[in-house]
Symmetry: C2
Subunit: 494 residues, 2 copies
């Protein structure tokens, strides 16, 4: 039919396009990515309108939708940028403006580059020296448990590595098609990648009543139900949690590993917020360390991929797209396939690789740059901790808003009560109720947050994700404005 | 069966891995990428052996396998690196070591970045200002034909953009599955991406006897035959050619556009070597310009994506992974889908975006940096032209080697005659004959080139791809050594 319509139109006038919504890749059409979805497009429009002098009930749009620290005013860590500038423009190695250790570090990285230049391709898994530094970092983070550079693949941000590993895992048709367990709420890269790869998304719900804890009984329910219609072969865990801010206990991680082992699931541990842990009593435990300490048979059999990034932590260098994955207990033949796969894209951006090197190998106490580096790092992390606490406090003081403690990462994910009339109004507009709430919030306050429906949530509950990144002096008024708007909105629809 | 075997093994001892060659994504297994294939792995091993003092018949491995100019000793263009260093470390804006125009340019780019930092994410299609500069570049390149910034998507090298556009195009099952026409010989990104996306590769052969020209009759043969088993929906053209070095005439491009229009094919024009044209009488014509100048109905209907990169040209900044695609006549709804798709990966590396900005917007004649920039640029391009000519001359002087003129790009792709005994020996070893030749060449001379079988070639012909990038003083001895080795090899197997 579509073809006949096309032929008719061709006879009459302009041809139909070759590539249309009807003819394009249906998997791509199913992709959704709320963090940069319609609400952010509207925020951009509002910014343009403000620039054009259109009157609004606010003077600026605050983008609290994305974990982009430097866009929110966080200053880059001096040492990182010094070394990178030296790498990019080695003439500066003669300049008196740079500390000696920054120069040594730049020279060390350039020695490891083709033609001693960041402008050459690296090998596809990333510069050997940097992969060795990553391995040493992991080993020291994990209390001496060894890491092998040949298990490290540098990547274009963590996202790239996550998609690569998922890509390896997708196979089968119909009931044998790969199912991948992801938390709900999740970071929507996962749902987007699974849609694009035409894999089966298998949801397991985090327990909001227990500060978004992961419950193995719920994992079991999810995997058992999924076996009816697909073949679950992988389990994704985000720790510290995005968007939940939850930090998993060691006991929880052990239970997850035991579960993955029993159910024969490849584990993907998204640990990009490993440096972002704020709450007292919370501590980051890497899946790799727990796995290895559990001993046989887990330590030598359970397959694991752990992801890290230069975009988060204290550095927030999102724009450089530096990241890595460590694969553990991966079949050597599959590792070869992974190497081949990444080689098609040649290599991750080399400046991002160089920057990652500073993250995994920061100045040592004896280095001239240590004091300043350490002070800058601590300032950022202390401020994030204070903002995490403040967010929880202000939101929980507001009637109808319930906010779990932001133990780690960079987000709060509060639950908001929405009056039934508002829910009905949203439904009339063909919109998720929390999308309706967030759009109204944006239009009236300029605050841009992402509706919970973009991350997934239990039916009938409503949330939004807001970053804790705005500068302290802005954050409190922002939180109060948001709480105030919620009260007003509730009244309006009551 | 596989599952039962797994269960038995589980009872006895270690479990099977979840992810194995048997269980992994079969599309990924079919991916091949010769430019970084087994021959390059062997080259790396040989380098290690040399470092360890193992005696070899050569003192260094020469990697003529990949278009990586700076790895071959080409120096970065000063202005590009100055601006980038200023962007990365804005403290340098006060330094007397940088020219005023470099500072102005860095400030202009930083103004366009979130938080005035390269460390913030950009919008997913790339920084607006840089997309405007790209549009101006295209407009001026194409003699004033307008380009719209909203049709420009910056990318992580051109490869990323090529895969994105192919991804949009893949749909259907069985006989309706998308077929994509690619040249043979091709750059193996295309075959690799099509394998990964499970699309149907449709080969059309370039005419070696006419300097690798593209022949529309051959396109027609390919598409007609393909319609029996798939739905051809896209046509890829590489101009200047990789690996062929061919530069297409304007007439040829017109014919290709007419053909694509008649056959309803989306056009992908890989134009990353647009600055690399050397031969007298050869000139780069962009598909966009020709398309627009052909007028109605082509100019407003034929869909086209044109790719460019910061990795090639005179700058050779491969490591920064800067690139872009311009889409022409794309359905606006599909463009929205493309924007959504790229947003999942957040943004292309921002340093690569900044570098690309200098490429599309170099110093103007009135700028302090102009003279030096222009001199550096010309030196690189003049040397490449001389090396292109030298390559053709030396190879054609060798019996049994036939080399088409290297009109553009960075490669020669000579045909080598291989004696029947050598072909049989290779077959015994389960190897393509030209792989056998190239491996022997590597082992005996240290010269690393890629066998023609990695790019595709007519049955019974043998080629290799060699870059023209080694420095002039090395290139002549290299070419002579290679020719000499071929003579020796021929004798050995005669």
């Amino acid at each position: 039919m579509a073809q006949r319509a096309g032929e008719q139109r061709q006879a009459r006038g302009p041809k139909e396009k070759v590539l249309t919504l009807d003819s394009m890749n249906p998997c791509v059409q199913r992709v959704e990515y709320a963090v940069r979805g319609p609400i952010v497009a509207r925020a951009l429009e509002l910014e343009q309108e403000l620039l054009q002098g259109v009157k609004k009930p606010f003077s600026e749009v605050v983008r609290a939708n994305i974990g982009d620290a430097q866009a929110m005013g966080q200053k880059p860590i001096t040492f990182l940028r010094q070394v990178l500038a030296l790498c990019i423009n080695p003439n500066l190695l003669h300049s008196a403006d740079f500390p000696a250790d920054a120069k040594t570090r730049a020279e060390r990285i350039l020695q490891a580059c083709g033609g001693h230049s960041l402008g050459a391709y690296s090998i596809s898994s990333g510069i050997q020296l940097i992969r060795e530094d990553v391995a040493r970092y992991i080993q020291s983070r994990d209390g001496g448990i060894p890491a092998d550079p040949s298990n490290i693949f540098l990547s274009t941000g963590a996202s790239d590595a996550i998609v690569t590993v998922l890509k390896l895992l997708v196979a089968g048709e119909g009931r044998t098609r790969t199912g991948v367990l992801i938390p709900i709420p999740q970071y929507p890269l996962y749902s987007a990648a699974l849609a694009e790869l035409d894999a089966v998304q298998v949801d397991y719900y985090l327990d909001e009543e227990r500060a978004w804890a992961l419950d193995v009984a719920e994992l079991r329910r999810a995997v058992r139900q999924a076996r009816d219609h697909c073949c679950p072969r992988a389990l994704c865990v985000i720790n510290p949690g995005n968007p939940t801010g939850q930090v998993q206990t060691r006991e929880c991680i052990e239970a997850v590993i035991r579960f993955a082992f029993e159910e024969r699931l490849f584990l993907l541990a998204d640990e990009v917020y490993q440096d972002n842990v704020y709450a007292e009593g919370s501590q980051f435990h890497s899946f790799k360390k727990v796995l290895k300490e559990m001993g046989s048979p887990y330590s030598e059999q359970q397959e694991l991929a752990s992801f890290h990034s230069a975009s988060k932590g204290y550095m927030g260098e999102c724009g450089f797209r530096g990241g890595y994955v460590e694969v553990v207990n991966m079949d050597p033949a599959v590792k070869q396939q992974m190497l081949k796969l990444v080689s098609v894209r040649l290599c991750p951006p080399v400046p991002g690789q160089a920057l990652l090197d500073m993250v995994v190998n920061p100045p040592a106490p004896s280095d001239p740059s240590f004091a300043q580096f350490q002070a800058e790092r601590q300032t950022v992390l202390a401020e994030l901790a204070a903002k995490a606490k403040l967010t929880e406090q202000v939101f929980n003081a507001a009637p109808g808003i319930h906010c779990n403690p932001v133990q780690g990462a960079m987000y709060s994910f509060p639950r908001v009560e929405l009056p039934p009339r508002a829910v009905r109004r949203a439904q009339e507009l063909g919109m998720a109720p929390d999308m309706f709430f967030c759009l109204r919030l944006l239009e009236e306050t300029g605050i841009c947050v992402v509706p919970g429906s973009g991350f997934g949530q239990r039916e009938g509950t409503y949330h939004f994700r807001m970053t804790i990144l705005p500068p302290m002096e802005k954050l409190r008024p922002l939180l109060e404005k948001l709480s105030h708007f919620h009260a007003k909105f509730t009244q309006e629809y009551s």
